[in-house]
Amino acid sequence: MGPKQDVSKFAYSVVAIVIALLVGAVLIAVSGYSVKDAYSNLFMGAFGGVYSLATTIVMSTPLLFTGLSVAFAFQCGLFNVGAEGQLYVGALTSAVVALGLGWLPPVLRVVIALLAGAGAGALLGFVPGYLKAKLGAHEVITTIMLNYVATFLTTFLVKTYFKDPGPVDQTVLLPSGSRLPELIRGTRVSLGIILGIAAVALLNHIMRRSVLGYEIRVVGENPHAAEYGGVSVSAKTVQAMMISGAVAGLAGSVEVMGTLYRFIPHFSPGYGFTGIAVAVIAGQNLWAVIPAAILFGALQSGGQTMQLFAGIPMELMTMVQGLVILFVAAPALGSLLFRLKIRAKEGGGLE
């Protein structure tokens, strides 16, 4: 677990992305498109100019939160596939609170709306945490099912109670005092990215230095030893899922308050799922969430350009994410393909 090892792991993850993009290139070519056309658009869309860079940052912002959410749950041995749903409830709650508290001074309004979004996410994280802790229901299944529930529920609520008078099912625009401040004029880069980095720093500090982090780690690594050490496995499971949910909820809040300025049903292009890829790449090191989120943000914004100018559907990026997860999950796969030397665990016990 030294920093050296972290670096080589991250390097491997980058290699995994390159392999995934190569596989993508093959598919693009087979489908009769020009690979050069596709990937030059991808690159230009991600990094080619101020506007592209800004879009990359905008796309990275929610991924920073969802990636952090999933990575944090990993530390407790939990797989939160429910960031997508938590993001939706966080987004809607923030939107409603930000709209409803118009009489408060802007800073206070924004803070409360953010906290409300985090709270809603935490609440949705509580359910699978509790079911896992008390009944042993696998969190992957429950969180996925809650994604569907959250999507339907938020859509229902917007249609029924918070609908903009216009023809589209969405809330009204947030007034400027309810928005996150712009960071770069004329772009949608908001304070959200800073908040995301701060969240990474905070959770990293909690995991490395605090009693809570230590206890979560112990539960994640060996629940039996945790019990022995007087750490309540079920309490930590619920707490970790709630923190994870809160962070994913913030992804929605920041997206609504800093980018969209309103809640629109089905607005997320799968930020919660991309967050899984981000977290898998980051592994045990929470700081690595930042470059991983930017990487996937770049793929996302580049993908849009690619779709627009080369006519290649964006879902290619979803494939790339899936491939990256598989490559990182099975390090041996990379070494099989590229003969990379990865130290296998020394096996074999004596007697």
Binding site: L27, S31, F79, V81, V127, L131, L135, G136, A137, H138, V140, I141, T142, I144, M145, L146, Y148, V149, F152, L153, T155, F156, K159, T160, F273, I276, A277, V280, P313, E315, L316, M317, T318, M319, V320, Q321, G322, L323, I325, L326, A329, A330, A332, L333, L336, G347, G348
Partner: protein
């Protein structure tokens, strides 16, 4: 109120229950085989989706829905093979791999759909399977309405599920599978090839989930649509656990899902003024409840999710 009663206690619900149970029950049986051999299979969703897609594609190319079904099985089996290579061969974490497979399958099928059919939401319409009407059975009152007329895949699936049960509990291979999932080392020391058993089971689970997918795209609808499995793979896993990793009991559990699904569908088209979204939530909430109720009293195979390396290969 009477309207509501009408929705719930309607004989057509039972027909729909039978019909809609098929994809879940097939995938649940796939899950049972995979997990009985010791491999967690969260990837059923992706295998089902791939089956649904390859079925429609093959059907459009060949014009034969039956060849479509065959390719659905092959497609699902291929995804199963990927899961097997990663988890059994390369010792990747079963759950992470399963989730990765689902994301990959969702991306790949949606991308290919847009590339091939140049449309955003669905594929072209293809010639699906015609329904069968069983002579004799269809004329029996009540029972005939419920069981008499269905897609041939319904009857084939029920037969397959029964055969799967026989395979798992009455044959030497079934015993070896159960031994492998309970205690791989014990299986290894009596000369059972743990790796081969696990490969077989995981690929079989992919084939079964793929067939379930074909049922969605070639029997229920006659096209492929984006993410059309809509969480059924996860429901199947819940049904598999609720059914104690037994194909027949898994079928029983699937009826629970399909019954609420049937009511849900009927509610959407009824005069009752309940928002669609609320009604659509029902099967997902039910899955959570069933899973929460099931795990307490269920005992998974002892070595589920664990990797096994035969001692002979450790140097």
């Amino acid at each position: 109120m009477s309207e509501f009663m009408d929705i719930v206690f309607n004989i057509n619900n039972l027909t729909a229950t039978i019909r809609m149970a098929v994809p879940i029950a097939l995938a649940a049986m796939g899950g049972a085989f995979s997990e009985r051999s010791g491999v967690v299979n969260i990837g059923l969703e992706g295998m089902m989706l791939t089956g649904a897609f390859s079925g429609v594609l093959a059907c459009q190319i060949t014009g034969s829905p039956w060849l479509g079904v065959l390719f659905a099985i092959i497609g699902g089996g291929l995804v199963g093979a990927i899961h097997a290579v990663l988890t059994v061969g390369l010792k990747a974490d079963h759950v992470v791999t399963g989730v990765g497979i689902n994301i990959l399958a969702s991306g790949t099928t949606t991308w290919l759909m847009q590339v091939i059919w140049k449309r955003k939401g669905t594929s072209d319409l293809v010639a699906g399977l015609a329904t069968w009407s069983v002579p004799g059975l269809r004329d029996v009152p009540v029972l005939g309405t419920i069981l008499g007329t269905h897609s041939p895949l319904v009857y084939i699936s029920f037969l397959l599920i029964f055969l799967g049960w026989v395979l798992m509990f009455k044959t030497p291979l079934g015993l070896r599978i159960r031994m492998t999932g309970e205690h791989p080392e014990a299986a290894d020391t009596v000369g059972i090839n743990v790796r081969a058993i696990r490969y077989f089971c995981v690929i079989l689970s992919g084939c079964l989930a793929g067939l379930g997918g074909a049922y969605l795209s070639l029997a229920q609808l006659n096209w492929f649509s984006k993410d059309m499995s809509a969480g059924r793979g996860y429901m199947a896993l819940a049904a598999c656990i609720f059914g104690g990793w037994n194909p027949l009991k898994g079928l029983g559990a699937s009826f629970l899902f399909s019954f609420t699904d049937a009511i849900q569908m009927r509610m959407q088209t009824s005069k009752l003024r309940i928002a669609t979204e609320l009604v659509q939530m029902i099967p997902y909430i039910l899955t959570i409840l069933i899973l929460a109720g099931a795990v307490v009293r269920s005992r998974p195979p002892a070595a589920l999710g664990e990797h096994y390396e035969s001692g002979q290969t450790s140097k």
